[in-house]
Symmetry: C2
Subunit: 406 residues, 2 copies
């Protein structure tokens, strides 16, 4: 009798019929002998509708009230699913995040889970119930409701799996697994039957549609296997777990791409100790996630500093960086948003020869210009023009023979 934590996303519980279909899936699993804790998102467009209502009130809703408002969406789904299960004779119980013992910090809108007391969940499981938990939310020590931000319900599910020592966490969504590339731009992309946590994190820029990084990171830390599959069919999905990739013959697992890239270049930066900290510390304090950083070789004690941020943070980043540029007497500060990233992802790539060279040659032969290159343990990334992304992904997918990778 394995204990499984399942999570059903917004489209999987999009309307009354879908919720009943999810109830049927749960009952089939229970009959198979498993015990289930089920985390649910808000129904389909509910969250967007609540945000629109808030927008009618004010341009800048306070995060505390926004969280209290948005938390209702997941509670609604949880109660409806519990009702559908009980209607079919399956004991079930809906719990809000607070009732499920999920304690968070007070950073509204993107709270972190600080503690999880599973006593109530365990008690209800022991009593034979399927426990339905409203995802995306928790209770602070001050009795405030806080939400976990993007991918919050995934995080709730993984955290419950960790806390309950569940056998695995199953994420059901409208995407049926993890592919070797985004199937929308690379039709030959094949579904992976398994993938390691780190590679999943690298693939997740488009994979965020599948599952949010934060939840994968949590699963990686505690070694919880995560199975991603569709709630709309019974096709096998992808198992994300540890210790997979190293044993794979083909070291390249997939091609990731990310169009949410803005590049900032500070020209003529005086090349002296501490100058990088002087620039990047204020960005960090301003909540800006800086990605790739490249510093050119210094010419006459002046260098050009280039880095990337997400497009949504470009304006904020420029507002911080421009005064600093003037202060340190640097030259022009420039921004552009026409670039995108294409990455080769796979553990063990750096230990195998020729991956980088083959990547650059493939892009060259496809007449795609490389603006910037960075690498990590399990990734080689090229910045290219965003209009070239589909051609680049397709060419790389073919060059590394990923169509049969799964």
């Amino acid at each position: 009798m394995a204990l499984i934590v399942q999570k059903y996303g917004g489209t999987s519980v999009g309307d009354a019929e879908r919720i009943k279909a999810v109830a049927d899936r749960i009952i089939a699993r229970i009959k198979g002998g498993d015990r289930l804790v089920v985390v649910v998102s808000a129904m389909g467009q509910t969250t967007d509708e609540l945000i629109a209502l808030a927008a009618e009130m004010t341009d800048e809703p306070e995060a505390r009230e926004m969280d209290l408002l948005l938390s209702t969406g997941e509670i609604v789904t949880s109660t409806l699913l519990a009702m559908a299960l009980k209607h079919s004779g399956q004991p079930a119980l809906a719990l809000s995040g607070a009732q499920a013992g999920i304690g968070t910090d007070q950073v509204y809108g993107r709270a972190r889970i600080l503690k999880l007391d599973p006593a109530r969940v365990v008690r209800e499981l022991d009593a034979g119930a399927v426990v339905i938990v409203a995802g995306f939310q928790g209770l602070t020590e001050e009795m405030e409701i806080a939400t976990l931000g993007r991918g919050g319900s995934d995080t709730t599910a993984v955290a419950l799996a960790v806390s309950l020592k569940a056998e695995r966490c199953e994420i059901y969504t409208d995407v049926d697994g993890v592919y070797t590339a985004d199937p929308r731009i690379c039709p030959e992309a094949s579904k992976l039957s398994e993938i390691g946590y780190e590679e999943m994190l690298e693939l997740s820029t488009w994979g965020a549609r599948v599952m949010h990084n934060r939840a994968i990171e949590l699963a990686a830390v505690y070694g919880v296997p995560v199975y991603v599959s569709s709630s709309f069919n019974d096709e096998p999905g992808t198992l994300i777990h540890g210790g997979v990739a190293m044993e794979k013959a083909n070291k390249v697992m997939g091609i990731a791409h990310d169009e949410d890239v803005a590049r900032i270049t500070v020209r003529g930066v005086p090349d002296r100790p501490g100058i990088a900290a002087h620039i990047f510390e204020p960005l960090g304090e301003g909540g800006i996630s800086v990605d790739t950083i490249v510093q050119n070789a210094s010419v006459e004690r002046l260098t050009d500093l280039t880095f990337t941020v997400s497009r949504s943070q470009l304006d904020e980043a420029m507002a911080i960086i421009k005064p600093i540029g003037e202060e340190i007497k640097a030259g022009e500060v420039m921004a552009d948003t026409h670039l995108a990233k294409v990455s080769l992802v796979g553990a063990g790539m750096t230990s195998g020869p020729g991956y980088a060279g083959r990547m650059f040659r493939t892009l060259f032969e496809a007449k795609i210009n490389i603006e910037l290159i960075t690498t990590s343990e399990i990734r080689i990334t090229c910045l290219i023009d965003e209009k070239d992304v589909p051609a680049a992904v397709k060419a790389l997918h073919r060059a590394f023979e990923l169509a049969d990778a799964a």
Copy 2:
């Protein structure tokens, strides 16, 4: 600086525009120097929509899940109103019933408030905020969400007024006060500027549209003045308070009517001690509210027992009473639903002569047959055919010169 508890009903917060209009009303009051705690209902049709969703899941939703589901409606309104206030520069804070310190028993669907810890509300008021409380709900000792049933938000408002020792409780709704009769069937009905608690309770069968009995009873017990008015205009409303009616020259305050009447008659009941208890105790245990009870004079040690219940409880009542009838070897048990009550309401009526006689004569002259008569300290009630209700109300309103009563 008076402390006032206001309550805005579902139509008063029916959409985004209405919520903003309520925010404007609140700000005007704050500028006038008052401190406000504001209780809100769910927006317009929200509760009905949630009930419809539940009905798609199951015919018999469990009360616990239903309460958790329905409680979200009031939370949504409270957050939106707080946002609208803050947008206009008015500090405000939305609290769920649980956060506002409202503790209830665990009778889902019609929970009673057991305790109210106003510490958080007081703290936020002292910090200068308008405190918005989601009505209709509270937290049980087991951390469950329970709702207060019909009129629940009124009860929340009065309970907060009691707990906070507020100067008064203001109920804003789509009805602009308490009238001498239901204006829908008696166009001459006039609005009362004030009325006593007990008379309000007697008038409340149609007055339930204005405010629920339970909240009035709570206000009466603690002597909290309740002001009922419209949120759609600035017309003066009705103040419900103690010690009013006795001093009024015209002892009749209004004409109440109630069409939610079903009559049950048990024929040939053996007239022996304890027989009434034998019949009515099981009804009470079954949650049936028995209203008027009439026992005819005994003939040959057999009597007829007649009583009324609300129509919604008729089937339940018959299911309980029929086996008892057989058990005590009574005759036929009959039910009919064509009757209605018309009542003359006013404190001091019983001490003044001729009210009953004038009532019966008025109905006689209007050719309306009286099926049953009951009286209380402040009420004379006749059961009549329901088709005669409009004529009876109009005739009595005229006979007791209520058009100018206010």
